[in-house]
Symmetry: C2
Protein backbone atom coordinates (compact mmCIF):
# COMPACT_ATOMS: atom_id res chain seq x y z
CA UNK A 1 0.00 0.00 0.00
CA UNK A 2 1.05 3.59 -0.63
CA UNK A 3 3.04 4.97 2.33
CA UNK A 4 0.86 8.02 3.05
CA UNK A 5 -2.41 6.07 2.83
CA UNK A 6 -1.05 3.36 5.06
CA UNK A 7 0.17 5.82 7.70
CA UNK A 8 -3.15 7.67 7.65
CA UNK A 9 -5.06 4.42 8.06
CA UNK A 10 -2.91 3.36 11.02
CA UNK A 11 -3.17 6.79 12.63
CA UNK A 12 -6.97 6.71 12.32
CA UNK A 13 -7.07 3.27 13.88
CA UNK A 14 -4.88 4.39 16.80
CA UNK A 15 -6.94 7.56 17.34
CA UNK A 16 -10.20 5.59 17.26
CA UNK A 17 -8.93 2.99 19.72
CA UNK A 18 -7.56 5.61 22.12
CA UNK A 19 -10.91 7.34 22.16
CA UNK A 20 -12.83 4.19 23.08
CA UNK A 21 -10.53 3.65 26.08
CA UNK A 22 -12.25 6.24 28.24
CA UNK A 23 -15.63 6.69 26.59
CA UNK A 24 -18.54 6.76 29.10
CA UNK A 25 -16.21 6.06 32.02
CA UNK A 26 -16.61 7.56 35.48
CA UNK A 27 -15.57 9.60 37.40
CA UNK A 28 -15.55 12.31 34.75
CA UNK A 29 -12.87 14.34 36.56
CA UNK A 30 -10.47 11.51 35.68
CA UNK A 31 -11.64 10.50 32.21
CA UNK A 32 -12.66 13.85 30.65
CA UNK A 33 -9.10 15.23 30.62
CA UNK A 34 -7.93 11.97 29.03
CA UNK A 35 -10.58 12.27 26.30
CA UNK A 36 -9.46 15.87 25.77
CA UNK A 37 -5.86 14.74 25.33
CA UNK A 38 -6.81 12.03 22.84
CA UNK A 39 -8.86 14.58 20.90
CA UNK A 40 -5.94 17.03 20.82
CA UNK A 41 -4.07 15.03 18.21
CA UNK A 42 -0.43 14.08 18.12
CA UNK A 43 1.93 12.48 15.66
CA UNK A 44 1.52 8.96 17.12
CA UNK A 45 5.20 8.32 16.36
CA UNK A 46 5.75 5.63 18.99
CA UNK A 47 2.75 3.40 18.17
CA UNK A 48 3.43 3.72 14.44
CA UNK A 49 7.05 2.69 14.93
CA UNK A 50 5.97 -0.23 17.11
CA UNK A 51 3.51 -1.50 14.50
CA UNK A 52 5.89 -1.05 11.57
CA UNK A 53 8.69 -2.76 13.52
CA UNK A 54 6.41 -5.70 14.23
CA UNK A 55 5.42 -5.97 10.57
CA UNK A 56 8.98 -5.46 9.37
CA UNK A 57 9.91 -8.82 10.90
CA UNK A 58 6.74 -10.57 9.71
CA UNK A 59 4.22 -9.78 12.50
CA UNK A 60 0.69 -8.43 12.09
CA UNK A 61 -1.10 -5.35 13.45
CA UNK A 62 -3.55 -7.48 15.44
CA UNK A 63 -0.64 -8.93 17.44
CA UNK A 64 0.73 -5.57 18.51
CA UNK A 65 -2.09 -3.02 18.51
CA UNK A 66 -2.58 -3.07 22.28
CA UNK A 67 1.15 -2.61 22.84
CA UNK A 68 1.11 0.23 20.31
CA UNK A 69 -1.68 1.98 22.21
CA UNK A 70 0.22 1.38 25.45
CA UNK A 71 3.34 3.24 24.30
CA UNK A 72 1.19 6.17 23.15
CA UNK A 73 -0.60 6.21 26.52
CA UNK A 74 2.76 6.18 28.28
CA UNK A 75 3.98 9.04 26.12
CA UNK A 76 0.79 11.03 26.80
CA UNK A 77 1.27 10.49 30.53
CA UNK A 78 4.77 11.98 30.36
CA UNK A 79 3.48 15.02 28.45
CA UNK A 80 0.84 15.83 31.09
CA UNK A 81 3.29 15.62 33.99
CA UNK A 82 6.19 17.26 32.12
CA UNK A 83 4.03 20.21 31.04
CA UNK A 84 3.08 20.73 34.66
CA UNK A 85 6.69 20.52 35.87
CA UNK A 86 7.76 22.94 33.12
CA UNK A 87 4.78 25.30 33.69
CA UNK A 88 3.88 25.09 29.99
CA UNK A 89 0.50 26.56 29.03
CA UNK A 90 0.14 25.14 25.54
CA UNK A 91 0.66 21.78 23.88
CA UNK A 92 -0.33 20.99 20.30
CA UNK A 93 -2.17 24.31 20.17
CA UNK A 94 -4.39 23.40 23.13
CA UNK A 95 -4.27 24.43 26.77
CA UNK A 96 -2.34 21.95 28.90
CA UNK A 97 -4.34 19.92 31.43
CA UNK A 98 -3.10 21.75 34.54
CA UNK A 99 -4.08 25.07 32.88
CA UNK A 100 -7.48 24.00 31.55
CA UNK A 101 -8.37 22.20 34.79
CA UNK A 102 -5.98 22.38 37.75
CA UNK A 103 -2.84 20.77 39.13
CA UNK A 104 -4.61 18.00 41.05
CA UNK A 105 -6.43 17.01 37.86
CA UNK A 106 -3.18 16.97 35.89
CA UNK A 107 -1.42 14.77 38.44
CA UNK A 108 -4.29 12.30 38.54
CA UNK A 109 -4.81 12.29 34.78
CA UNK A 110 -1.16 11.37 34.35
CA UNK A 111 -1.41 8.65 36.99
CA UNK A 112 -4.52 7.29 35.29
CA UNK A 113 -2.80 7.28 31.91
CA UNK A 114 0.22 5.31 33.06
CA UNK A 115 -2.14 2.79 34.63
CA UNK A 116 -4.21 2.58 31.46
CA UNK A 117 -0.96 2.04 29.55
CA UNK A 118 -0.18 -1.06 31.64
CA UNK A 119 -3.78 -2.26 31.49
CA UNK A 120 -3.74 -2.02 27.71
CA UNK A 121 -0.34 -3.66 27.35
CA UNK A 122 -1.53 -6.51 29.58
CA UNK A 123 -4.22 -7.39 27.01
CA UNK A 124 -1.38 -8.66 24.82
CA UNK A 125 -1.05 -12.40 24.48
CA UNK A 126 2.53 -13.47 23.87
CA UNK A 127 4.85 -16.01 25.39
CA UNK A 128 7.38 -13.28 26.15
CA UNK A 129 4.90 -10.95 27.84
CA UNK A 130 7.07 -10.68 30.96
CA UNK A 131 10.08 -9.64 28.87
CA UNK A 132 7.91 -7.08 27.06
CA UNK A 133 6.65 -5.67 30.36
CA UNK A 134 10.19 -5.49 31.73
CA UNK A 135 11.38 -3.62 28.68
CA UNK A 136 8.39 -1.24 28.92
CA UNK A 137 8.99 -0.65 32.64
CA UNK A 138 12.76 -0.26 32.39
CA UNK A 139 12.11 2.25 29.61
CA UNK A 140 9.73 4.18 31.84
CA UNK A 141 12.24 4.34 34.69
CA UNK A 142 14.95 5.58 32.33
CA UNK A 143 12.48 8.19 31.14
CA UNK A 144 11.81 9.40 34.70
CA UNK A 145 15.57 9.59 35.26
CA UNK A 146 15.94 11.58 32.04
CA UNK A 147 13.23 14.01 33.06
CA UNK A 148 14.90 14.44 36.47
CA UNK A 149 18.21 15.10 34.74
CA UNK A 150 16.59 17.58 32.35
CA UNK A 151 15.22 19.51 35.36
CA UNK A 152 18.61 19.36 37.13
CA UNK A 153 20.32 20.74 34.02
CA UNK A 154 18.04 23.82 34.07
CA UNK A 155 19.93 25.04 37.14
CA UNK A 156 23.38 24.11 35.85
CA UNK A 157 25.79 25.62 33.37
CA UNK A 158 28.70 23.90 31.69
CA UNK A 159 26.64 20.98 30.34
CA UNK A 160 28.72 19.08 27.79
CA UNK A 161 27.45 17.44 24.60
CA UNK A 162 28.06 14.10 26.33
CA UNK A 163 25.79 15.11 29.24
CA UNK A 164 23.22 16.32 26.76
CA UNK A 165 23.33 13.13 24.69
CA UNK A 166 22.88 10.98 27.77
CA UNK A 167 19.95 13.07 28.92
CA UNK A 168 18.07 13.02 25.60
CA UNK A 169 18.66 9.31 25.21
CA UNK A 170 16.94 8.81 28.55
CA UNK A 171 14.24 11.38 28.05
CA UNK A 172 13.32 10.69 24.43
CA UNK A 173 15.47 8.06 22.74
CA UNK A 174 14.72 5.25 25.16
CA UNK A 175 10.92 5.10 24.71
CA UNK A 176 11.30 5.17 20.92
CA UNK A 177 13.90 2.40 21.20
CA UNK A 178 11.54 0.42 23.45
CA UNK A 179 8.65 0.90 21.01
CA UNK A 180 10.69 -0.64 18.19
CA UNK A 181 11.98 -3.39 20.48
CA UNK A 182 8.49 -4.40 21.68
CA UNK A 183 7.24 -4.37 18.09
CA UNK A 184 10.13 -6.65 17.18
CA UNK A 185 9.42 -9.08 20.02
CA UNK A 186 5.71 -9.21 19.15
CA UNK A 187 6.65 -9.92 15.53
CA UNK A 188 8.79 -12.83 16.78
CA UNK A 189 12.00 -11.22 15.56
CA UNK A 190 15.32 -13.08 15.75
CA UNK A 191 17.84 -11.73 18.28
CA UNK A 192 19.70 -10.03 15.41
CA UNK A 193 16.55 -8.39 14.06
CA UNK A 194 15.53 -7.24 17.52
CA UNK A 195 18.90 -5.56 18.07
CA UNK A 196 18.73 -3.96 14.64
CA UNK A 197 15.29 -2.47 15.34
CA UNK A 198 16.31 -1.32 18.85
CA UNK A 199 19.34 0.50 17.47
CA UNK A 200 17.25 1.94 14.67
CA UNK A 201 14.78 3.30 17.23
CA UNK A 202 17.49 4.67 19.50
CA UNK A 203 19.17 6.66 16.73
CA UNK A 204 15.87 7.84 15.31
CA UNK A 205 14.80 8.96 18.80
CA UNK A 206 17.95 11.01 19.30
CA UNK A 207 17.54 12.61 15.87
CA UNK A 208 13.92 13.35 16.71
CA UNK A 209 14.88 15.17 19.92
CA UNK A 210 17.55 17.31 18.27
CA UNK A 211 15.05 18.16 15.53
CA UNK A 212 12.62 19.12 18.32
CA UNK A 213 15.30 21.38 19.81
CA UNK A 214 15.74 23.10 16.43
CA UNK A 215 12.01 23.59 15.88
CA UNK A 216 11.76 25.39 19.21
CA UNK A 217 13.63 28.29 17.64
CA UNK A 218 13.10 27.82 13.87
CA UNK A 219 9.38 27.01 13.65
CA UNK A 220 6.31 29.26 13.98
CA UNK A 221 3.92 29.28 16.92
CA UNK A 222 0.92 28.54 14.68
CA UNK A 223 2.64 25.41 13.34
CA UNK A 224 4.35 24.32 16.54
CA UNK A 225 1.29 24.78 18.78
CA UNK A 226 3.31 26.53 21.51
CA UNK A 227 5.43 29.71 21.81
CA UNK A 228 8.72 29.84 19.93
CA UNK A 229 11.76 29.81 22.23
CA UNK A 230 10.06 28.07 25.18
CA UNK A 231 13.15 25.94 25.78
CA UNK A 232 15.32 29.08 26.06
CA UNK A 233 12.95 30.82 28.46
CA UNK A 234 12.91 27.72 30.69
CA UNK A 235 16.71 27.40 30.46
CA UNK A 236 16.36 23.91 28.97
CA UNK A 237 19.59 22.47 27.71
CA UNK A 238 19.22 21.75 23.99
CA UNK A 239 21.66 20.64 21.32
CA UNK A 240 21.67 24.27 20.17
CA UNK A 241 22.46 25.88 23.52
CA UNK A 242 25.09 23.29 24.41
CA UNK A 243 26.81 23.70 21.03
CA UNK A 244 26.51 27.47 21.19
CA UNK A 245 27.95 27.92 24.69
CA UNK A 246 30.83 25.62 23.76
CA UNK A 247 31.61 27.39 20.48
CA UNK A 248 30.38 30.98 20.79
CA UNK A 249 32.77 33.91 21.40
CA UNK A 250 32.44 36.01 24.55
CA UNK A 251 30.67 38.80 22.62
CA UNK A 252 28.29 36.36 20.93
CA UNK A 253 27.45 34.86 24.32
CA UNK A 254 26.80 38.36 25.75
CA UNK A 255 24.44 39.24 22.89
CA UNK A 256 22.70 35.88 23.26
CA UNK A 257 22.28 36.15 27.02
CA UNK A 258 20.83 39.64 26.71
CA UNK A 259 18.04 38.16 24.57
CA UNK A 260 17.14 35.08 26.55
CA UNK A 261 16.94 36.61 30.01
CA UNK A 262 13.31 37.54 29.43
CA UNK A 263 10.02 35.90 30.34
CA UNK A 264 8.74 36.15 26.76
CA UNK A 265 10.87 36.33 23.64
CA UNK A 266 9.83 38.94 21.06
CA UNK A 267 10.12 38.18 17.32
CA UNK A 268 13.22 40.40 17.14
CA UNK A 269 14.88 38.40 19.95
CA UNK A 270 14.16 35.18 18.07
CA UNK A 271 15.76 36.68 14.95
CA UNK A 272 18.89 37.71 16.87
CA UNK A 273 19.19 34.21 18.31
CA UNK A 274 18.75 32.61 14.90
CA UNK A 275 21.42 34.89 13.45
CA UNK A 276 23.88 34.10 16.25
CA UNK A 277 23.22 30.38 15.86
CA UNK A 278 23.94 30.79 12.14
CA UNK A 279 27.20 32.65 12.84
CA UNK A 280 28.51 30.02 15.26
CA UNK A 281 27.65 27.15 12.94
CA UNK A 282 25.20 25.83 15.55
CA UNK A 283 22.35 25.28 13.10
CA UNK A 284 24.65 23.60 10.60
CA UNK A 285 26.09 21.36 13.30
CA UNK A 286 22.58 20.38 14.49
CA UNK A 287 21.48 19.52 10.95
CA UNK A 288 24.62 17.47 10.43
CA UNK A 289 24.11 15.65 13.71
CA UNK A 290 20.51 14.79 12.81
CA UNK A 291 21.61 13.60 9.38
CA UNK A 292 24.29 11.36 10.91
CA UNK A 293 21.82 9.85 13.36
CA UNK A 294 19.25 9.20 10.61
CA UNK A 295 21.94 7.57 8.46
CA UNK A 296 22.95 5.40 11.40
CA UNK A 297 19.31 4.48 12.03
CA UNK A 298 18.83 3.48 8.39
CA UNK A 299 22.08 1.48 8.42
CA UNK A 300 20.65 -0.65 11.25
CA UNK A 301 17.48 -1.23 9.23
CA UNK A 302 19.63 -3.01 6.66
CA UNK A 303 19.96 -5.78 9.23
CA UNK A 304 16.42 -6.96 8.54
CA UNK A 305 15.01 -8.66 5.44
CA UNK A 306 13.34 -6.00 3.24
CA UNK A 307 9.56 -5.84 3.05
CA UNK A 308 6.97 -3.11 2.62
CA UNK A 309 6.83 -2.13 6.30
CA UNK A 310 10.61 -1.99 6.48
CA UNK A 311 10.44 0.39 3.52
CA UNK A 312 7.82 2.45 5.37
CA UNK A 313 10.12 2.66 8.40
CA UNK A 314 12.73 4.27 6.13
CA UNK A 315 10.25 6.76 4.72
CA UNK A 316 9.00 7.51 8.21
CA UNK A 317 12.57 8.32 9.32
CA UNK A 318 13.14 10.70 6.45
CA UNK A 319 9.81 12.35 7.12
CA UNK A 320 10.69 12.86 10.78
CA UNK A 321 13.98 14.44 9.75
CA UNK A 322 12.20 16.88 7.44
CA UNK A 323 9.24 17.71 9.67
CA UNK A 324 8.35 21.31 10.51
CA UNK A 325 6.32 20.71 13.68
Amino acid sequence: MDYTKRMDALRSQIDRDLQTLCRDKEPSSLYEPMQYLFDSGGKRIRPLLLILSCEAVGGAVRDCLDAALAVELLHTFTLVHDDMMDHDDLRRGHETVHRKWDEATAILTGDGLVTLAYQTLLKTTHLQIQEILKSFTDGLLVLCEGQAMDKEFEDRSGISLDDYNRMIYQKTGKLIEVSCEIGAILGDASAKEKTALKEFGKNLGLAFQIQDDMLDILSHESVLGKPIGSDLVENKKTYLTVHFYTNGSASQIDRFNACIHKKVLEPEDIQVIRDIYEETGTLESSRQCIQNLISEALRHLEGIKPNESGEHLKQFSLQLRDRVS
Copy 2:
Protein backbone atom coordinates in the same frame (compact mmCIF):
# COMPACT_ATOMS: atom_id res chain seq x y z
CA MET B 1 6.87 -17.81 66.17
CA ASP B 2 5.43 -15.20 68.54
CA TYR B 3 3.21 -12.74 66.63
CA THR B 4 5.00 -9.53 67.63
CA LYS B 5 8.48 -10.92 66.92
CA ARG B 6 7.38 -12.25 63.58
CA MET B 7 5.79 -8.94 62.53
CA ASP B 8 8.88 -7.01 63.64
CA ALA B 9 11.13 -9.35 61.67
CA LEU B 10 9.02 -9.00 58.54
CA ARG B 11 8.84 -5.23 58.90
CA SER B 12 12.63 -5.01 59.25
CA GLN B 13 13.08 -7.13 56.16
CA ILE B 14 10.68 -4.93 54.16
CA ASP B 15 12.34 -1.72 55.36
CA ARG B 16 15.80 -3.06 54.53
CA ASP B 17 14.76 -4.17 51.06
CA LEU B 18 13.03 -0.88 50.29
CA GLN B 19 16.15 1.01 51.26
CA THR B 20 18.39 -0.96 48.91
CA LEU B 21 16.08 -0.17 45.97
CA CYS B 22 17.41 3.34 45.49
CA ARG B 23 20.77 3.27 47.25
CA ASP B 24 23.55 4.97 45.23
CA LYS B 25 21.26 5.58 42.29
CA GLU B 26 21.38 8.67 40.06
CA PRO B 27 20.02 11.26 39.45
CA SER B 28 19.77 12.21 43.09
CA SER B 29 16.84 14.56 42.50
CA LEU B 30 14.80 11.43 41.73
CA TYR B 31 16.20 8.95 44.25
CA GLU B 32 16.87 11.11 47.31
CA PRO B 33 13.19 11.86 47.94
CA MET B 34 12.47 8.13 47.61
CA GLN B 35 15.13 7.31 50.18
CA TYR B 36 13.62 9.98 52.44
CA LEU B 37 10.19 8.36 52.12
CA PHE B 38 11.53 4.89 52.91
CA ASP B 39 13.33 6.32 55.95
CA SER B 40 10.14 8.01 57.17
CA GLY B 41 8.60 4.77 58.34
CA GLY B 42 5.11 3.48 57.81
CA LYS B 43 3.02 0.60 59.05
CA ARG B 44 3.78 -1.60 55.98
CA ILE B 45 0.24 -2.97 56.21
CA ARG B 46 -0.09 -3.99 52.56
CA PRO B 47 3.16 -5.96 52.22
CA LEU B 48 2.57 -7.66 55.58
CA LEU B 49 -0.91 -8.72 54.51
CA LEU B 50 0.43 -9.97 51.19
CA ILE B 51 3.10 -12.09 52.86
CA LEU B 52 0.78 -13.48 55.54
CA SER B 53 -1.87 -14.27 52.89
CA CYS B 54 0.71 -16.15 50.85
CA GLU B 55 1.85 -18.12 53.90
CA ALA B 56 -1.72 -18.71 55.08
CA VAL B 57 -2.28 -20.90 52.01
CA GLY B 58 1.09 -22.62 52.25
CA GLY B 59 3.40 -20.25 50.35
CA ALA B 60 6.77 -18.89 51.49
CA VAL B 61 8.16 -15.38 51.94
CA ARG B 62 10.78 -15.90 49.23
CA ASP B 63 7.99 -16.45 46.67
CA CYS B 64 6.21 -13.20 47.42
CA LEU B 65 8.70 -10.69 48.82
CA ASP B 66 9.08 -8.76 45.57
CA ALA B 67 5.32 -8.52 45.22
CA ALA B 68 5.10 -7.37 48.84
CA LEU B 69 7.61 -4.59 48.17
CA ALA B 70 5.69 -3.68 45.02
CA VAL B 71 2.41 -3.03 46.86
CA GLU B 72 4.24 -0.87 49.41
CA LEU B 73 5.91 1.09 46.59
CA LEU B 74 2.52 1.57 44.95
CA HIS B 75 1.05 2.77 48.22
CA THR B 76 3.96 5.18 48.76
CA PHE B 77 3.44 6.55 45.26
CA THR B 78 -0.20 7.35 46.05
CA LEU B 79 0.79 9.11 49.28
CA VAL B 80 3.22 11.45 47.52
CA HIS B 81 0.74 12.47 44.83
CA ASP B 82 -2.28 12.59 47.18
CA ASP B 83 -0.44 14.79 49.68
CA MET B 84 0.33 17.20 46.88
CA MET B 85 -3.27 17.21 45.61
CA ASP B 86 -4.51 17.75 49.17
CA HIS B 87 -1.85 20.39 49.98
CA ASP B 88 -0.83 18.45 53.08
CA ASP B 89 2.40 19.59 54.75
CA LEU B 90 3.03 16.64 57.06
CA ARG B 91 2.95 12.86 56.75
CA ARG B 92 4.14 10.48 59.45
CA GLY B 93 5.59 13.46 61.31
CA HIS B 94 7.80 14.45 58.38
CA GLU B 95 7.44 17.17 55.78
CA THR B 96 5.74 15.93 52.62
CA VAL B 97 7.89 15.72 49.47
CA HIS B 98 6.35 18.72 47.69
CA ARG B 99 6.99 20.82 50.84
CA LYS B 100 10.52 19.60 51.54
CA TRP B 101 11.52 19.83 47.87
CA ASP B 102 9.02 21.23 45.36
CA GLU B 103 6.05 20.19 43.25
CA ALA B 104 8.06 19.03 40.25
CA THR B 105 10.09 16.77 42.54
CA ALA B 106 6.92 15.34 44.10
CA ILE B 107 5.35 14.57 40.73
CA LEU B 108 8.49 12.85 39.47
CA THR B 109 9.13 10.97 42.72
CA GLY B 110 5.62 9.54 42.50
CA ASP B 111 6.10 8.60 38.86
CA GLY B 112 9.40 6.94 39.72
CA LEU B 113 7.81 5.01 42.58
CA VAL B 114 5.00 3.57 40.48
CA THR B 115 7.59 2.49 37.93
CA LEU B 116 9.75 0.94 40.60
CA ALA B 117 6.66 -0.88 41.87
CA TYR B 118 6.17 -2.54 38.48
CA GLN B 119 9.89 -3.22 38.11
CA THR B 120 9.95 -4.95 41.49
CA LEU B 121 6.76 -6.93 40.84
CA LEU B 122 8.21 -8.08 37.52
CA LYS B 123 11.06 -9.83 39.35
CA THR B 124 8.46 -12.36 40.51
CA THR B 125 8.59 -15.76 38.87
CA HIS B 126 5.18 -17.40 38.74
CA LEU B 127 3.10 -19.06 36.03
CA GLN B 128 0.26 -16.64 36.71
CA ILE B 129 2.40 -13.51 36.53
CA GLN B 130 0.12 -11.93 33.92
CA GLU B 131 -2.93 -12.45 36.13
CA ILE B 132 -1.02 -10.94 39.07
CA LEU B 133 -0.03 -7.92 37.01
CA LYS B 134 -3.60 -7.48 35.79
CA SER B 135 -4.91 -7.57 39.33
CA PHE B 136 -2.23 -5.07 40.43
CA THR B 137 -3.00 -2.75 37.52
CA ASP B 138 -6.79 -2.97 37.81
CA GLY B 139 -6.36 -2.18 41.50
CA LEU B 140 -4.28 0.88 40.66
CA LEU B 141 -6.87 2.18 38.20
CA VAL B 142 -9.64 1.71 40.77
CA LEU B 143 -7.46 3.63 43.20
CA CYS B 144 -7.03 6.54 40.77
CA GLU B 145 -10.80 6.54 40.28
CA GLY B 146 -11.31 6.57 44.04
CA GLN B 147 -8.94 9.48 44.48
CA ALA B 148 -10.75 11.40 41.72
CA MET B 149 -14.06 10.67 43.44
CA ASP B 150 -12.64 11.77 46.80
CA LYS B 151 -11.61 15.11 45.25
CA GLU B 152 -15.01 15.49 43.53
CA PHE B 153 -16.76 14.88 46.86
CA GLU B 154 -14.86 17.80 48.45
CA ASP B 155 -16.96 20.18 46.37
CA ARG B 156 -20.25 18.35 46.90
CA SER B 157 -22.74 18.08 49.72
CA GLY B 158 -25.41 15.42 50.18
CA ILE B 159 -22.96 12.49 49.92
CA SER B 160 -24.73 9.31 51.08
CA LEU B 161 -23.19 6.44 53.03
CA ASP B 162 -23.45 4.38 49.81
CA ASP B 163 -21.41 7.00 47.91
CA TYR B 164 -18.92 7.06 50.75
CA ASN B 165 -18.60 3.29 50.90
CA ARG B 166 -18.00 3.06 47.16
CA MET B 167 -15.36 5.78 47.34
CA ILE B 168 -13.38 4.27 50.24
CA TYR B 169 -13.52 0.83 48.66
CA GLN B 170 -11.89 2.31 45.58
CA LYS B 171 -9.46 4.56 47.42
CA THR B 172 -8.37 2.23 50.21
CA GLY B 173 -10.15 -1.13 50.24
CA LYS B 174 -9.15 -2.20 46.77
CA LEU B 175 -5.35 -2.11 47.21
CA ILE B 176 -5.61 -4.03 50.48
CA GLU B 177 -7.86 -6.56 48.75
CA VAL B 178 -5.38 -6.82 45.88
CA SER B 179 -2.49 -7.32 48.32
CA CYS B 180 -4.23 -10.30 49.89
CA GLU B 181 -5.27 -11.63 46.47
CA ILE B 182 -1.74 -11.48 45.05
CA GLY B 183 -0.39 -13.15 48.19
CA ALA B 184 -2.97 -15.89 47.72
CA ILE B 185 -2.07 -16.42 44.05
CA LEU B 186 1.65 -16.55 44.86
CA GLY B 187 0.92 -19.11 47.58
CA ASP B 188 -0.90 -21.20 44.95
CA ALA B 189 -4.25 -20.83 46.72
CA SER B 190 -7.31 -22.69 45.50
CA ALA B 191 -10.07 -20.56 43.93
CA LYS B 192 -12.02 -20.76 47.19
CA GLU B 193 -9.03 -19.70 49.30
CA LYS B 194 -8.27 -16.83 46.93
CA THR B 195 -11.83 -15.51 47.21
CA ALA B 196 -11.73 -15.86 50.99
CA LEU B 197 -8.52 -13.84 51.26
CA LYS B 198 -9.75 -11.20 48.78
CA GLU B 199 -12.94 -10.70 50.80
CA PHE B 200 -10.94 -10.66 54.01
CA GLY B 201 -8.72 -7.91 52.58
CA LYS B 202 -11.64 -5.90 51.25
CA ASN B 203 -13.46 -5.81 54.59
CA LEU B 204 -10.28 -5.14 56.51
CA GLY B 205 -9.45 -2.31 54.13
CA LEU B 206 -12.83 -0.65 54.64
CA ALA B 207 -12.51 -0.99 58.43
CA PHE B 208 -9.03 0.50 58.19
CA GLN B 209 -10.28 3.56 56.32
CA ILE B 210 -13.14 4.25 58.76
CA GLN B 211 -10.65 3.88 61.60
CA ASP B 212 -8.46 6.39 59.78
CA ASP B 213 -11.41 8.77 59.55
CA MET B 214 -11.95 8.47 63.33
CA LEU B 215 -8.29 9.03 64.17
CA ASP B 216 -8.34 12.30 62.22
CA ILE B 217 -10.49 13.76 65.00
CA LEU B 218 -9.78 11.50 68.00
CA SER B 219 -5.98 11.13 67.90
CA HIS B 220 -3.22 13.57 68.86
CA GLU B 221 -0.93 15.35 66.42
CA SER B 222 2.20 13.92 68.07
CA VAL B 223 0.90 10.37 67.59
CA LEU B 224 -0.78 10.87 64.21
CA GLY B 225 2.14 12.74 62.63
CA LYS B 226 -0.14 15.41 61.10
CA PRO B 227 -2.61 18.04 62.39
CA ILE B 228 -5.86 16.81 63.95
CA GLY B 229 -8.95 17.61 61.88
CA SER B 230 -7.14 17.82 58.50
CA ASP B 231 -9.99 15.95 56.81
CA LEU B 232 -12.51 18.51 58.09
CA VAL B 233 -10.44 21.50 56.99
CA GLU B 234 -10.10 19.99 53.49
CA ASN B 235 -13.83 19.18 53.41
CA LYS B 236 -13.05 15.48 52.93
CA LYS B 237 -16.07 13.23 53.17
CA THR B 238 -15.49 10.76 56.01
CA TYR B 239 -17.69 8.17 57.67
CA LEU B 240 -18.10 10.69 60.49
CA THR B 241 -19.16 13.67 58.41
CA VAL B 242 -21.49 11.61 56.22
CA HIS B 243 -23.15 10.04 59.28
CA PHE B 244 -23.30 13.37 61.07
CA TYR B 245 -24.88 15.39 58.24
CA THR B 246 -27.45 12.61 57.77
CA ASN B 247 -28.33 12.35 61.45
CA GLY B 248 -27.53 15.72 63.06
CA SER B 249 -30.27 18.27 63.93
CA ALA B 250 -30.28 21.71 62.29
CA SER B 251 -28.79 23.32 65.41
CA GLN B 252 -26.09 20.64 65.74
CA ILE B 253 -25.18 21.19 62.07
CA ASP B 254 -24.99 24.96 62.63
CA ARG B 255 -22.66 24.56 65.62
CA PHE B 256 -20.55 22.06 63.67
CA ASN B 257 -20.27 24.25 60.57
CA ALA B 258 -19.23 27.23 62.66
CA CYS B 259 -16.22 25.20 63.86
CA ILE B 260 -15.02 23.68 60.63
CA HIS B 261 -15.11 26.78 58.42
CA LYS B 262 -11.60 27.69 59.52
CA LYS B 263 -8.16 27.14 58.03
CA VAL B 264 -6.82 25.68 61.26
CA LEU B 265 -8.85 24.00 63.99
CA GLU B 266 -8.05 25.03 67.57
CA PRO B 267 -8.16 22.45 70.39
CA GLU B 268 -11.48 23.90 71.56
CA ASP B 269 -12.98 23.42 68.07
CA ILE B 270 -11.83 19.81 68.09
CA GLN B 271 -13.50 19.33 71.47
CA VAL B 272 -16.79 20.82 70.24
CA ILE B 273 -16.73 18.52 67.21
CA ARG B 274 -15.99 15.47 69.35
CA ASP B 275 -18.88 16.39 71.67
CA ILE B 276 -21.32 16.86 68.77
CA TYR B 277 -20.20 13.54 67.25
CA GLU B 278 -20.87 11.94 70.63
CA GLU B 279 -24.34 13.49 70.87
CA THR B 280 -25.41 12.33 67.41
CA GLY B 281 -24.14 8.79 67.99
CA THR B 282 -21.65 9.27 65.14
CA LEU B 283 -18.67 7.88 67.08
CA GLU B 284 -20.68 4.90 68.29
CA SER B 285 -21.93 4.20 64.77
CA SER B 286 -18.37 4.37 63.39
CA ARG B 287 -17.09 1.98 66.05
CA GLN B 288 -19.93 -0.42 65.33
CA CYS B 289 -19.32 -0.24 61.60
CA ILE B 290 -15.61 -1.01 62.07
CA GLN B 291 -16.45 -3.91 64.37
CA ASN B 292 -18.90 -5.35 61.82
CA LEU B 293 -16.35 -5.10 59.02
CA ILE B 294 -13.65 -6.77 61.14
CA SER B 295 -16.05 -9.57 62.08
CA GLU B 296 -16.92 -10.03 58.41
CA ALA B 297 -13.20 -10.07 57.52
CA LEU B 298 -12.50 -12.73 60.15
CA ARG B 299 -15.50 -14.78 58.99
CA HIS B 300 -13.91 -15.00 55.53
CA LEU B 301 -10.64 -16.15 57.08
CA GLU B 302 -12.48 -19.23 58.31
CA GLY B 303 -12.57 -20.32 54.66
CA ILE B 304 -8.90 -21.26 54.78
CA LYS B 305 -7.21 -24.11 56.61
CA PRO B 306 -5.78 -22.80 59.91
CA ASN B 307 -2.04 -22.34 60.28
CA GLU B 308 0.23 -19.93 62.13
CA SER B 309 0.14 -17.20 59.47
CA GLY B 310 -3.64 -17.42 59.28
CA GLU B 311 -3.64 -16.88 63.02
CA HIS B 312 -1.33 -13.88 62.56
CA LEU B 313 -3.75 -12.43 60.01
CA LYS B 314 -6.44 -12.51 62.70
CA GLN B 315 -4.22 -10.82 65.25
CA PHE B 316 -3.19 -8.25 62.67
CA SER B 317 -6.86 -7.41 62.00
CA LEU B 318 -7.61 -6.90 65.68
CA GLN B 319 -4.51 -4.77 66.05
CA LEU B 320 -5.56 -2.58 63.13
CA ARG B 321 -8.97 -2.13 64.72
CA ASP B 322 -7.42 -1.01 68.00
CA ARG B 323 -4.64 1.17 66.59
CA VAL B 324 -4.21 4.77 67.73
CA SER B 325 -2.22 6.12 64.75
